[in-house]
Symmetry: C2
Subunit: 511 residues, 2 copies
């Protein structure tokens, strides 16, 4: 037991002091902990003695130079790259705002278990996983939808549906074999929860088209290919494929464009899909309008022995897609969308309409993909089946397309004013000026170490300043500064003639 | 630090209560012991984790329900929390823009080696580290400055100094023992590279004060405490401390407020600091103005046997801080700043002016910390010594302060219009209306499954819509819709009387 004595012991006064009681509690705990600690400290010390010597880590810790490269497969964003990223994100954000989606976010680190699911899609095979010192299996999130589901389930009944949420998370993957592919990208996610009908899909697709328009792309260059897993499922069931195999079959069909037909055939065959069903799948892959699809389904249905699927079911699945196209016509986006039965998307959890945005020339990978995933919340243990659909729109492919088509604006740095003190004695005055300009809402910089005046003007010009504001003793005494406009348009120059070298005198209050 | 509150808290009386000091000593020791105890208790558990058979984890992987909690120590941002985060970030961003800082970013994953440095500050001891499948030692970045250094060194000579860069990265730490402390926070970083003089520090501190003003805080509540490691270094050198030990001594001094004096004494003693030097350090900790500091330095200098430090050096270090205060006066921020020699900051790399922003009541941890780190680029292998200074301003403490002082604005969701179709047959018309409103720059939502009209109006009201726009067959035939204003001010209501239940008819072209 430790003996603590109040340094200003005053006898009676301390009897009523409330701190005394707390100190006694502390003293007891402290004693207990010290005893426990001494007891357990014996064990690890013995064990540590047997650990081998590790000179390598000693060596590393004394190294002084660092790699200037980012971690493999990741990107740095110095200001010039950041301006491009912000340009893209602004298009995403302003579209989301215009469409009344609310922004949310979740930690980039999630439990690995969140992504474990049957069917084995690519995302769950390429996780950026790691184990913490405490043995927890975590990963850098490969996609945002499971985090969204987690947040929504966490809100429970406090959340009144429908909701429209968006986010621009950085998503990660880790491939065993690297071939110049990146391990991270930012992905604009938009999701609508609580809406059963395709009005939700229409709203999402209209938002994608709006963002593409903001990015100066048109329906002549980009197309939204739409299909429905329900239609495909009817075809498969009518062809004798078991419902349980559907998700796995979709993963194979998603690779249709990337592998030769024979390999696709082999993969489907290995899943136990009959030759007849494979033939029907191959026929469907060529279908690019709804009427053809209807004919194909009718043909297969008439040949089916014991159909589980009624004509009404088929009509309903087809009608859904027809309704979606009708709504997109009302949005003014009819020319952006096409039916394409080969679109299935590579995620196991989609259940209804699926869509994929690609460049019409097919020079690039998909820009964006999405669809309906009504079953996901149930697989995560939700009592309520929450209807849901959404899309993910990555920042890499769109960036490549905009660069290739030269649609990125200049995105040069621009600022309003650069304030230049005549010399160090004028710094306080220059600071007053820059503070005044900022308080007026202007973006204003100040030269922070006195250079030759010419260098300071060059700095202002190089950094895209509209005006250089020169603070010199004589003018300052007259409550004035010298202002030079650095970005005069040709029209200005013609009308007013070339500006004088050192600009014009201006009262501080008029700045 | 544990927070114990006197059960009969009486304010002023308790300030002088001698028991309080004792309780603090107890609290510190108790925490230290608890920490040590839990640390050694981990060992047997760790060993269990490596045992080969893990039936429990098998069970986990096949389970279908997920944890709705985020990973330990991390935060989710559902829309209501996201609005608060965006409110803070907007204050940071608009200040940075007004001060002409350029935004940059870097991957959240970095090489662990980037943070290895001598001196052992807290940051490098609590890294969120992991090893990849390929054996690379990575971590979730604990701070942004090393990434900034990496980007700047990567740019090399292409970058013309000075530069002013900012970022709002999420930074991570991993403590062995959790006690409700978070493992991530967002930290607004602002850095100026290439400026030797304190004009850079002045610009940074002015930016911090401006952001605090934007967040509705004043110099009556918040103070920027400023000191200089150069001044402290002169004091230490004059007292006989070796220059090489300076960084380590600073780490101990940074703990001055958190540990009892005797423990600080012991820690310094263990670093080989003489009793005389420790006495001088303790004296300096009480100094809160520059004149006192000057007197102390003169007294120590006069007593030094063989001083390495000239009077000119000392004057120059003091003058620097005086200049900084003069500049901050010109910025109009004089009342925000105070000299406080006890400020040293816990990072090893600071070399000059250091500052810390705290609430004047000292109820919270530091809001923001920063300083000059002229030596960092050289330690990273740069040929050029790049003068640099910057600060980090976390999102957690400021959030606590704003919440406690009730300074957060309401931040309710607001949208301009909610378009309500009379029934499904009117959906195409309603879609045309919502698309029109959006094209006019309004934020517009649409009811996505037909409910009773009353429910739709309630949805519009609950989501903060300014207007509900009702699209019904008869009016639509006359190119009109019915508009109801949901957010009429009291003045509006008085002047015009209460609006009719179903709003007013309006031509589509006038919407």
């Amino acid at each position: 037991m430790l003996n603590f004595r109040c340094p200003e012991w005053t006898g009676i006064a301390c009897q009523t002091c409330p701190w005394k009681a707390i100190v006694n509690v502390f003293a007891d705990r402290l004693h207990f902990l010290q005893t426990s600690l001494q007891r357990v400290l014996m064990l690890p010390f013995k064990r540590q003695a047997t650990t081998p010597h590790t000179p390598k880590s000693d060596k590393k810790s004394s190294t002084t130079s660092i790699s200037i490269d980012p971690v493999q497969g990741t990107r740095d964003f110095p200001p010039d790259e950041m301006r491009v990223r912000n340009y893209l994100f602004d298009a995403f954000r302003s579209t989301a705002k215009s469409f009344c989606f609310e922004e949310y976010d979740a930690p980039v680190v999630e439990h690995e278990a969140l992504y474990v699911r049957k069917g084995g899609d690519e995302i769950t095979k390429q996780m950026y996983s790691f184990t913490t010192r405490h043995g927890h299996k975590l990963c850098l999130r490969p996609e945002m939808t499971p985090s969204l589901a987690r947040l929504v389930l966490g809100k429970g009944k406090a959340l009144s549906l429908p909701v429209k949420w968006f986010s621009i998370p950085q998503c990660w993957r880790y491939e065993d074999i690297t071939r110049g592919r990146r391990r991270e990208h930012y992905q604009w996610n938009m999701d609508i929860l609580g809406v059963k009908g395709v009005a939700a899909e229409a709203e999402l697709i209209a938002a994608v088209c709006t963002a593409l328009q903001k990015l100066d792309l048109s329906e002549k260059e980009i197309v939204v290919k739409v299909s429905s897993r329900k239609i495909l499922q009817h075809l498969l069931v009518l062809s004798g494929v078991q419902s349980d195999d559907f998700a796995k079959v979709c993963i194979v069909i998603d690779k249709f464009d990337k592998y030769p037909r024979e390999e696709i055939w082999t993969m489907l065959d290995e899943l136990g899909v009959s030759d007849y069903a494979i033939e029907n799948i191959f026929r469907a892959m060529l279908v690019t309008n709804l009427d053809q699809m209807e004919s194909l389904l009718q043909a297969v249905q008439s040949g089916a022995d014991n159909p589980d699927t009624t004509t009404a079911d088929i009509s309903s699945a087809l009608q859904e897609v027809k309704d979606l196209f009708g709504m997109l016509r009302a949005y003014g986006m009819a020319d952006w969308v096409e039916f394409d039965a080969s679109i299935v998307r590579g995620l196991t959890y989609y259940t209804g309409v699926v869509f994929e945005v690609v460049d019409r020339e097919r020079k690039f990978r998909a820009i964006c993909g999405g669809g309906r995933y009504d079953g996901l919340f149930a697989t995560y243990g939700s009592n309520l089946a929450i209807p849901a659909c959404g899309f993910g729109f990555g920042d890499c492919v769109i960036h490549e397309i905009l660069r290739e088509k030269k649609r990125l604006p200049a995105l040069q740095r621009t600022i309003d004013d650069v304030v230049i003190p005549f010399d160090e004695s004028m710094r306080p005055a220059a600071i007053e000026v820059v503070a005044l300009l900022r308080s007026k809402g202007r973006t204003a910089d100040i030269i922070m170490h006195t250079k030759k005046v010419g260098q300071s003007f060059a700095y202002a010009d190089k950094n895209g300043a509209e005006r250089a504001v020169f603070v010199a003793p004589d003018e300052w005494a007259a409550e004035s500064v010298r202002v030079k406009y650095l970005r005069k348009t040709e029209a200005d120059v013609e009308s007013k003639g070339p500006s004088k070298d050192k600009g014009e005198s201006m009262k501080i209050c008029d700045l």
